[in-house]
């Protein structure tokens, strides 16, 4: 058994309590341990990606219990890609945070590591109830991170965020209960094998469970009509936390890809294609809502939050269609939108900190420190987010448009993506010119917030994320074979089921022969 697979969960799980117990009084030491752990995580994720690109999914049976009786972790191309993306985003966000933001409250680094543990676990697990547990791990860490630094408005937004997610967790449990009650299993591969055999009398229960699960994952992925919690939460969270949360919406998208693609996908009897009728319209409305919100936003934080909602709509369109070409294009756009959203949220933090008084509100005010450099970074990140050439947002949208060309809904998708891109361009141009351009005509200079101490490292962090975007653009040709192989693997449901259910079985058989 390949023990490397569990390391992305174990490493932060061991570092987090150590940060709380041993080094909670020493910020410098906590920073060293946290960064070292995240760098290690990046290395492990890179190694796992190399392993996964070999082909077959790799199974890690916890406690050596053979599936479907024990919990399994499954490493395939998709989960390896998501692990690497998480580690990369986390490292840059952490570099931004150790430039001062982490010292404004307590236990930032421990919560950060627990959050990484939850996200990595959700990407790796092959068991539905275990997915629920990892969701709770990442959520409870995110509650702490969300209110990091305190403040009345932030705390009240935090209460809302917790309430929404607690209701989501209850729905998740109801869905898990329904699915277990009908099929008698929670292992994803075993579910995929049993769902086609569910008798017609139980179909209503099963499909209710499947749609409830979709609703839960849609809350995480901020799809309309359950997107309302996102702008308040992300705009009020501290900048590095909001940037890290850019991966959390993708956890929802990943869960829909994994669970509904595998268990309720093609060839699954009456439950097949259950979600497509719902997901594609939801994705299109999400796209329109998000990008209209970009136009209407009154602060930079809100603008970026709505752009995140819009980009989730764009990600979910190819997921809803679930064909080989659309999945590869969607995955390319998913990585791009995570990096772009991360960079934009960090920039919101830099702007708000330097404008004492107006903060990140979109009002004309005198110039602030380093506005030139921040404006240049914002220009690049906004170009990427809006999907203008030459950056990866353009390539991603082009790939999606090309992939859906022959489908029935092509007209809707083309219109949706093109019109909303235009809205996003106008929105970001308005925001940028209000914040950076018009300020040059104003008298005087804005002071920074008291306690604002972000320096060179913050700019390195934003620059790192933007460099990642440039690299993702430049290497678009080189990564496409990997993404296409990932799409192939996602569509190869039998391969997944056979690998998970049969390999350990063979091991037991061999053992049995050995003792005879």
């Amino acid at each position: 058994m390949n023990h490397w697979i569990i390391l992305p969960i174990l490493l932060p799980a061991l570092v987090a309590p150590m940060l709380v117990l041993a080094v909670r009084h020493d910020v410098a030491l906590a920073r060293v341990f946290s960064v070292a752990s995240t760098v290690l995580l990046l290395g492990v994720a890179g190694g796992l990606l190399a392993m996964a690109s070999g082909g077959e999914p790799q199974v890690y049976a916890l406690g050596h219990w053979p599936p479907p009786f024990g919990i399994v972790l499954v490493l395939d191309r998709l989960s390896a890609l998501m692990l690497l993306l998480t580690a990369l985003l986390a490292l840059w966000v952490l570099l931004f945070a150790i430039d001062g933001a982490d010292a404004r409250g307590r236990h930032f680094h421990a919560l950060f590591q627990l959050q990484l543990m939850g996200v990595n676990g959700a990407f790796l697990t092959g068991d539905l109830f275990n997915l629920f547990v990892f969701f709770e791990v990442l959520l409870i860490a995110s509650y702490g991170l969300m209110v990091h630094g305190g403040g009345a408005a932030r705390l009240r937004a935090g209460v809302q965020y917790v309430a929404v997610n607690l209701v989501g967790s209850s729905l998740f449990l109801i869905a898990v209960g329904l699915i277990y009650g009908v099929t008698g299993t929670l292992n994803m591969a075993d579910l995929a094998a049993r769902v086609p055999m569910v008798p017609p009398g139980d179909q209503a229960l099963l499909q209710t469970g499947a749609l409830l699960l979709l609703l839960v994952f849609a809350v995480k992925a901020a799809l309309v009509p359950v997107q309302f919690w996102l702008p308040g939460t992300y705009a009020l969270a501290p900048a590095p936390v909001a940037a890290l949360f850019a991966i959390m919406t993708k956890v929802g998208a990943y869960a829909i890809l994994r669970v509904h693609g595998l268990i309720f996908g093609e060839g699954m009897g009456e439950a097949a294609h259950l979600i497509q009728d719902w997901l594609l319209p939801a994705a299109l409305v999400t796209l329109a809502t998000g990008m209209t919100g970009v136009l209407a936003a009154r602060s930079l934080g809100q603008m970026v939050s709505f752009a995140v909602i819009g980009s989730m709509g764009t990600v979910m369109i190819p997921v809803a269609l679930y064909t080989h070409q659309t999945l590869a294009a969607g995955l390319y756009y998913l990585v791009h939108s995570t990096l772009a959203a991360g960079a934009l949220f960090l920039l919101v933090g830099l702007v708000a900190e330097r404008r004492s008084g107006p903060g990140d509100r979109l009002v004309v005010a005198p110039a602030f420190a380093q506005s030139g450099l921040i404006a240049a970074f914002f220009f690049l990140a906004a170009l990427a987010m809006a999907g203008l050439p030459p950056l990866s947002g353009f390539i991603g949208k082009l790939l999606i448009l090309d992939a859906v060309r022959e489908g029935e809904a092509a007209v809707w998708i083309w219109t949706g993506i093109l019109v909303t891109s235009f809205l996003a361009i106008i929105g970001f141009a308005r925001g940028g010119s209000t914040l950076f351009w018009k300020s040059t005509a104003q008298e005087g200079r804005l002071q920074a917030e008291p306690g604002a101490d972000s320096g060179a490292l913050s700019f390195v962090a934003v620059g790192g994320l933007l460099a990642g975007l440039l690299l993702w653009t430049a290497l678009a040709g080189q990564v496409t074979p990997y993404l296409e192989a990932t799409a192939h693997q996602l569509l190869d449901r039998e391969g997944y089921v056979d690998t998970v259910l049969e390999t350990p079985g063979r091991v037991i058989e061999e053992k049995g022969h050995g003792t005879h």
Partner: protein
């Protein structure tokens, strides 16, 4: 027994949903707690309702009660207990800092108070 369990789940969930939709934090917290109770009983019932049967299948047993939902419920109880504690503490802090226990944010608030430390 079926009627009793089913109506218990239904009433607890309905009361929970009603309370969650209130505008103040205390009823919302109570509602969340009631909802998780309803969900726990529901999850328990998903292993089928049986009385006086062993949790392990043996060769001569007439039937068995499914032990897995009981393990799931145990996990769910622990998690929901922890989550309720978190939401109580956060609601209390939010009330003390902003002098109001309304759940919803005022329209202008996110922008004006966003950047106060």
């Amino acid at each position: 027994m079926e009627l009793l369990v089913a109506s218990a789940v239904g009433i607890m969930t309905a009361a929970g949903v009603y309370l969650v939709l209130r505008a103040r934090t205390f009823p919302v917290v109570l509602g969340l707690a009631l909802m998780t109770y309803g969900v726990n009983v529901f999850l328990f019932a998903m292993g089928r309702l049986t009385v006086n049967l062993p949790p392990v299948l043996t060769a001569d047993a007439a039937g068995y009660t499914d032990p897995l939902p009981q393990a799931l419920v145990l996990t769910a109880i622990v998690i929901s207990f922890g989550m309720t504690a978190v939401v109580v503490v956060m609601a209390l802090r939010a009330y003390l800092e902003s002098d109001t226990d309304h759940v919803d944010l005022a329209r202008s608030e996110p922008i004006e108070k966003a950047d106060r430390p």
